[in-house]
């Protein structure tokens, strides 16, 4: 029984990682940049959504507010920071998004303070009862997992089946060729950032009930989501979700059956092994030029 508890707990915590990893993948797909500020943007929009929730008392309205705020914040970061920086190498862009993260966290600390704020869950977080016992998996966990899977399916359809998706992929993959083929590249890149911002915002609102809302409460997800996205192959939505949930499972089982302190070491070893065997990530679609 305990084994299934560890399993279910791992899936639930893994889907949270996967959700944030999706946003990272979207930004990477659109602009070939790893957005360290993603968790900061999600935190900021969750604070805004919380204010809306307190004002209206309507969870759905607060979610919509978060999605809009996420898109706008994504566009702001894109136009003010990333577009000018994009022509530089990776280090400059990483540092710039890192600067945005620090600035967002400092502003949030100034505006809302550091005490944890409650964002009530829309569904019950008490586990399901079945076979005469309570399982560590609730309607809330189903919601998070469901939204994660749904988003991936939806985004996959958009990217592979619609012309908009194709234009976005083309713009990111080879802007010059895309521009020559008549794609408005800058619009597509901006759209990518807005989309990623919205997904991050959804993630923020969804996980806020368990993570609570503070300027730093999503920090840990940055590291996990980034690692997961890298192993999965930064380009791959399916990879992000598969490895997000996989990582959740591994961490849960390791801390369940050995010492908790081993969990991060196992994660580190898995990261190194994966990159050693699959330097471009497991689910990478293409191989960039290598010598």
């Amino acid at each position: 029984m305990t084994f299934f508890d560890h399993l279910l707990g791992g899936i639930a915590s893994g889907s949270v990682i996967a959700l944030m990893a999706i946003a990272l993948v979207l930004v990477w797909r659109s602009t070939r940049v790893v957005n360290f500020a993603q968790v900061g943007q999600a935190m900021f929009t969750t604070f805004l959504a919380l204010a809306v929730y307190r004002g209206t008392g309507n969870w759905l309205i607060s979610l919509i507010a978060a999605i809009l705020a996420g898109a706008i914040l994504g566009l702001i970061v894109h136009f003010l920071v990333m577009r000018p920086v994009r022509r530089q190498d990776g280090s400059g862009a990483i540092i710039a998004t890192f600067g945005v993260l620090i600035a967002l966290q400092a502003s949030a600390s100034m505006i809302w303070g550091v005490d944890p704020q409650a964002y009530p869950p829309i569904v019950d977080i008490i586990g399901f009862e079945a076979f005469g016992r309570t399982w560590p998996f609730s309607r809330y966990d189903v919601l998070v997992l469901g939204v994660t899977v749904l988003l991936v399916l939806l985004l996959s359809v958009v990217f592979t089946r619609t012309s908009l998706g194709l234009r976005m992929r083309a713009s990111a993959f080879n802007p010059t060729v895309a521009r020559l083929s008549g794609v408005r590249v800058s619009q597509m890149l901006a759209l990518g950032w807005a989309l990623a911002g919205s997904i991050g915002a959804i993630a923020g609102v969804l996980i806020a009930p368990t993570f609570s809302v503070t300027p730093y409460s999503f920090d840990i997800l940055l590291i996990l989501a980034f690692t997961v996205a890298v192993i999965g192959g930064l380009d791959s939505l399916v990879g992000a979700v598969a490895f997000g949930i996989g990582t959740g499972l591994v961490l849960s089982l390791v801390s369940g059956y050995s010492d908790s302190g081993n969990a991060s070491i196992v994660a580190l070893v898995l990261l190194a092994l994966n990159l050693l065997l699959k330097p471009e990530g497991v689910f990478a679609h293409h191989h960039s030029r290598s010598v």
Binding site: S91, G99, I102, M110, G261, I265
Partner: protein, 455 residues
């Protein structure tokens, strides 16, 4: 005539090194001179800046010349710092040579272990491009503390090692070993005895008839077994403590009673004798720390200058700019990427050895992700392919937060705003410099000068 001689001198084999040595010594000399005139805290800032610069020289080679991203050089510093601490605490003699161990050997060992760590990470990362390498190095930086937690007796665990600076010939003494030494046991016994006396005093009068304070016990649900209970009364205790003859007080701050100043282990005594942190020459410990850090930075800077201006620097650049062309002329991109990691591991470990000495402490909380990111921020802001840029970047990450703190406090704004203002400005400045001066402060200045001279 006068034009020809320098030309021929420049072609002599040693001239290249000599010129670099003169440059480095001159720069280091200026800083050492400045150091003698600084207030202790500013010397400590200088020590830190020199320590960061030492690690950033490696980042210049890794990020600037060889074009790799690393978010994990803080972990390489940790490797150096821990090697330094552990060898100087535990090793008595140099293996094989049999010489007595001292701090220099610890520094050398730290550098060597840093080379090995750089080789490992570089080897793992050689096939990885930009973000994948960033992911690997980030994982290492974040995963490091959990490794330290895993081996508390060997690596000091969460609390780390406090070190005594400077070194006795056998190395540092551990301040916080896991084992209980004879002296500790004695001290504990002593405090145990004192406690028993104290209990005897408190319970001495009331051991036959125990009187509970009603108000106190009214709240309790579990009645206590009477004969095991002692009663303390604060008013009585303070009277007792006051009347205890050997605990004479020095309330009015005049000359202390003789028995206190003669007591062997009293803290009071220590305060008195070592109050001055300065000897007659006025050379304080912070200045010594800064000198140490500057000298290490100079040594590492000299190596870096020779590498960058020499053949290897051109090879790294060639591999970075066009790996295909480089491999066509027989330069292996992978081995040259690894060599950049090895060099940066070497430098970072030496910086870590300095860090262990200027902080007199080694622990996982020194080597968080912040450190690794600061190293990258510093090198990008200063100018990624210039050693001077690394120095400016090091000064930037040490001085800027301090300056902002002072500034924010003077504004008299609400605490919540004033406390977080330095972080906000730091974040915005990082973004701004990357946007406005993409080649970094020094790099952009050089570009501007070059343009002006070309015109």
């Amino acid at each position: 005539m006068s034009m020809k001689i320098p030309e021929s001198i420049r072609e002599l084999p040693g001239a290249f090194f000599l010129r670099n040595a003169i440059i480095v010594s001159a720069v280091a000399g200026v800083f050492l001179l400045i150091n003698t005139q600084l207030e202790p805290t500013y010397s400590f800032y200088l020590a830190q800046a020199a320590m960061y610069a030492t690690a950033m020289f490696g980042m210049v080679i890794l990020v600037g010349l060889s074009g790799q991203v690393s978010l994990g050089n803080g972990a390489l510093m940790a490797v150096g710092a821990y090697t330094f601490a552990i060898t100087s605490m535990n090793w008595q003699t140099v293996p094989i040579l049999g010489l007595p161990w001292n701090a220099v050997w610890s520094v050398v060992t730290a550098g060597l272990v840093g080379v090995i760590a750089g080789l490992l990470i570089g080897g793992l990362g050689a096939r990885l491009s930009g973000p994948y390498l960033a992911g690997l190095t980030l994982g290492i930086a974040v995963g490091l503390p959990s490794i330290i937690y895993r081996f508390p007796s060997f690596l000091g665990g969460e609390d780390g090692f406090a070190l005594r600076v400077p070194f006795p010939p056998g190395g540092y003494a551990a301040q916080d070993g896991g084992e209980v030494s004879a002296a500790d046991a004695a001290a504990e016994e002593m405090s145990n005895e004192g406690f028993e006396d104290f209990l005897a005093e408190a319970g001495g009068d009331s051991s036959e008839i125990l009187e509970f304070d009603q108000e106190e016990l009214a709240t309790g649900e579990t009645p206590l077994v009477e004969d095991e209970v002692l009663e303390f009364d604060q008013d009585e205790l303070s009277l007792e403590q006051e009347s205890t003859p050997d605990l004479v007080q020095d309330v009015d701050g005049e000359s202390p009673p003789a028995e206190i100043s003669e007591s062997e282990d009293s803290f009071v005594d220590l305060v008195d004798e070592s109050a001055g942190v300065i000897d007659l020459t006025g050379f304080v410990i912070e200045q010594w720390q800064a000198s140490l850090a500057v000298v290490m930075a100079a040594i590492v800077g000299f190596i870096a200058l020779n590498l960058i201006r020499g053949n290897q620097g051109r090879i790294w650049k060639a591999v970075r700019d066009d790996p295909v062309a480089a491999s066509l002329v027989g330069l292996s991109p992978q081995s040259n990427k690894v060599s950049a990691f090895v060099i940066s591991g070497f430098f970072a470990a030496l910086a870590g050895a300095v860090m262990a000495q200027i902080f007199a402490y080694v622990g996982p909380a020194l080597f968080g992700l912040t450190l690794s990111l600061s190293l990258l921020v510093g090198v990008i802001l200063g100018g990624r392919s210039s050693l001077v840029g690394a120095m400016v970047g090091a000064a930037f990450i040490v001085v800027l937060p301090k300056a902002m703190e002072t500034f924010a406090q003077q504004l008299g704004w609400e605490d919540r705003v004033a406390d977080n203002l330095p972080n906000l400005v730091y974040g915005l400045l990082v973004v701004l410099v990357v946007l406005v001066l993409p080649a970094g402060l020094v790099g952009s200045l050089m570009v501007a000068i070059r343009r002006r001279t070309q015109r």
